[in-house]
Amino acid sequence: MAVSSSVKRVYSSSVFGVAVILATMCAVMAVLTNKFLTETNIVSVVRQFSFISIMAIGQCMVIITGGIDLSVGSVFAFSSVISAMSLAAGAPLAASLLVGAACGMAFGLVNGILITRVKLPPFISTLGIMSVARGLSYAVTSGFPVNIKSADYAFLGQGQIAGVPVPVLLLVALAAIASAFLGRTVLGRRIYALGGNEEAARVSGVDIDRVKVIVYVLCGALAAIAGIATASRLGVAQSTAGMGYELDSIAAVIIGGASVKGGTGTISGTIIGASIMGVLRNALVLLSVSAYWQQAIIGFVIILAVSMDQLRNMAKA
């Protein structure tokens, strides 16, 4: 009885479905090609999707509130170039990292204020900021890449600790913190409540506006961290970085079982969602699928994954 009910709970949890999809994809790849299950490949895939995942953690919180953040890709780029430029200008490592993170938070704050005070729909506000942040990245760099010469800075993206790439460790740490934050803190619980029913949360004494602002600030900060880590990995910060990442991060959250209507979503689901896309990209490369086809296949898989989840929910109801 107890066993069967816990089995049922695992099955009906939204994470289960996507985890099965991920496992199936990996199994199929292992059969199709012997290049997939090699240490170098696995490490590179995991490192690859850890950048998007970090960003998707923030996106996940935003989507749980029923909002959306289209500006993360541009904030990713802006924060990384500002951070790299301040480093190049002679700022100490810690300061350059903090400046980058602060940029992300500042844009998040602007989004939060526009959404709560000016009452702009999140789609509009973040669409505008997406353009503003991208434009500013071009403006401050005149379009030139900013090279990173500090080895310490590069460690963040290129280094390894006990054989595990630093960005992966960073993701694990941030995911653990975010998961505990969302599931167990007062603020996290309020995020779910306001996404589930904003009016009821307001009547229950939740300061809706404050919670939303914090969520967008956190989302901006996470986009900045992802941007800085990516620049560090590549040894160069580019104003063109992160284009289209906003859509990848949204896709990761949605594949991971969150509803765009708000109120549901988990960090674990989001990271599995990001891994599905990472594994898929890698698979298409390993299988020598033309780059032109990859985009279409990824889109197809996103729809398939979310549709299956939807059908499963309908069957349950």
Partner: protein
């Protein structure tokens, strides 16, 4: 009666919703070219009856004859085809489309199959508007029209669909006196063409001015139909009251203490006008009145959900400023909203998550909300209020209405308020749960809590309150002690 031809005859109509018998053997008859007023207290069954006419609900039993032929009214499209048109209180207009587009939406005049014939639509609209005496450009956007003009556009739309019966639900609730006059003139013109109008209103004066006959509903039954020339306001009120009290309210005498909350001359920009009242510890203060009288607005101002434009609020004699619900909660005010699905519950969340929502800070252990403390709170509430749930972790959307209501109540009580405001605490719950909620209210008052109950059910208000305040049009119209309050007295204050 201008003509003796029967337009619609409904006989023995019954309708049961889960747990509630909404209509019980209702009869209604309307003639061509007459205005039939339909009156009754909140919840008497007017809306359900009209929804059956509109094909929105299907009846359980009874017969309907329209123009002498049996009519099934299976769905709204069918009702429309027969010529039955409903103008709802909340108008369903497309604000960003123009008048002509609103009139012809779904039934566009076309040229060559796919293209809308704008010119023909505008021309036809102009004719329709002038036939109802409305001087509005057919190309004006709906959102730029006054409420009264929108009402009249809706009437014009009914005419364009060749309606033979038009049902108007509280059409004047937000109109000025002059607009109302204009509307009445048009209603009379429409009737002169042989169209029947069913006119639902709480405003008895209007009914006497406009209608030929009146049908009174009470508790889902027809009390009677009268020629208005043969009756007075008092007879109508007498017909409306006398709702059966189908259960005993376990009201017991408690000790009434010091003043807990005093509201002085509170007004809002939209509705409330200098509302003053006070409630004491251990007292149950009932708020009676019709829907729209301003009772919920008042509750929302006291709870910090809406802004007041003037007046003061005192708690235990001290003037307080309440700018938000969390301030209200901190000051010891609890609020159980009237619409539990919209404002009370996060339906997808568990019982425990809903109950703890207002007190998460208090359940904190170091950084995190303590699962143990939360579970204790939830299980304690489940026991105390006898909430029927599989466990504290069950999602509230799977509970019955009565148990959902108890969860909202539990959430309000978790903040340990000194003043508790309950807005329609038993709406849509079954009789058993209703009785339980009443005894909970009684027990809470005994602990010294000051309780304000807003209810549209007269027997409930009369049964549980120590004192009753009656509101109308944003004002307090009178106050009755428990001993002196009767249904007739309350209704006389509530109706104009």
């Amino acid at each position: 009666m201008r003509t003796d031809q029967c337009l619609l005859k409904m006989e023995g109509i019954s309708k049961t919703f889960p747990g509630v018998k909404a209509l019980d053997q209702v009869d209604l008859e309307i003639h061509r070219g007459e205005v039939l007023a339909l009156v009754g207290e909140n919840g008497a069954g007017k809306s359900t009856l009209m929804k059956i006419l509109g094909g929105i609900h299907s009846r359980d039993s009874g017969t309907i004859a329209f123009e002498g032929r049996p009519a099934d009214l299976r769905d709204p499209a069918h009702a429309r085809r027969l010529g039955i048109s409903i103008i709802h209180q909340e108008l369903n207009v497309m604000e960003n489309l123009d008048v002509a587009e609103n009139i012809f939406v779904g039934d566009e005049i076309r040229t060559a199959l796919v293209f809308v014939d704008r010119k023909a639509q505008v021309g036809r609209t102009r004719e329709l508007l002038s036939s109802v005496g409305l001087d509005v450009d057919p190309r004006a956007l709906m959102k730029d029209l006054s409420l009264a003009s929108r009402q009249m556009v809706e009437i014009a739309k009914s005419l364009s669909m060749n309606a033979k019966l038009i049902i108007m639900d509280e059409p004047t609730s937000s109109l000025t006196e002059r607009e109302t006059e204009r509307l009445f003139r048009i209603v009379r013109e429409v009737c002169a063409r042989g169209i029947g109008v069913i006119y639902i209103s709480h405003r008895l004066e209007e009914i006497f001015e406009l209608a030929d006959r009146v049908t009174v509903l009470r508790d889902g039954r027809t009390v009677g139909t009268k020629e208005l020339s043969e009756c007075t306001k008092e007879t109508l009120i007498a017909m409306m009251v006398g709702r059966e009290i189908d259960e005993l309210y376990p009201k017991t005498e408690g000790r009434i203490g010091n003043e807990a909350l005093r509201v002085e001359k509170v007004s809002t920009a939209s509705l409330l006008r200098e509302v003053s009242f006070a409630v004491r510890e251990g007292e149950v203060l009932g708020f009676a009145g019709l829907v729209g009288a301003g009772r919920t607005e008042l509750a929302k101002v006291v709870f910090g959900l809406d802004r007041k434009s003037g007046g003061d609020i005192y708690l235990a004699g001290k003037k307080v400023s309440i700018g938000s619900p969390w301030e209200a909660i901190r000051l010891g005010i609890g609020y159980v909203p009237e619409d539990r699905k919209r404002e009370g519950l996060v339906l997808g969340m568990a019982v425990r998550g809903n109950i703890s929502l207002s007190v998460l800070e208090r359940l904190k252990r170091y950084l995190f909300v303590s699962g143990r403390k939360e579970k204790e709170l939830a299980e304690d509430s489940i026991l105390r209020l006898r909430i029927k749930a599989q466990s504290a972790s069950q999602a509230v959307k799977f509970l019955s209405g009565g148990n959902q209501q108890k969860v909202v109540l539990a959430k309000g009580l978790a903040t340990t308020p000194k003043v508790l405001i309950l807005d329609e605490p038993t709406r849509g719950v079954d009789v058993g749960a209703k009785k339980e909620i009443h005894s909970i209210i009684d027990a809470l008052a005994k602990t010294g809590m000051a309780i304000i109950v807003i209810s549209s059910e007269l027997p409930e208000i009369l049964g549980i309150s120590d004192r009753i305040v009656v509101m109308r049009n944003g004002r307090i119209k009178g106050e009755l002690r428990r001993e002196e309050a009767t249904q007739v007295k309350v209704l006389e204050l509530a109706f104009r």
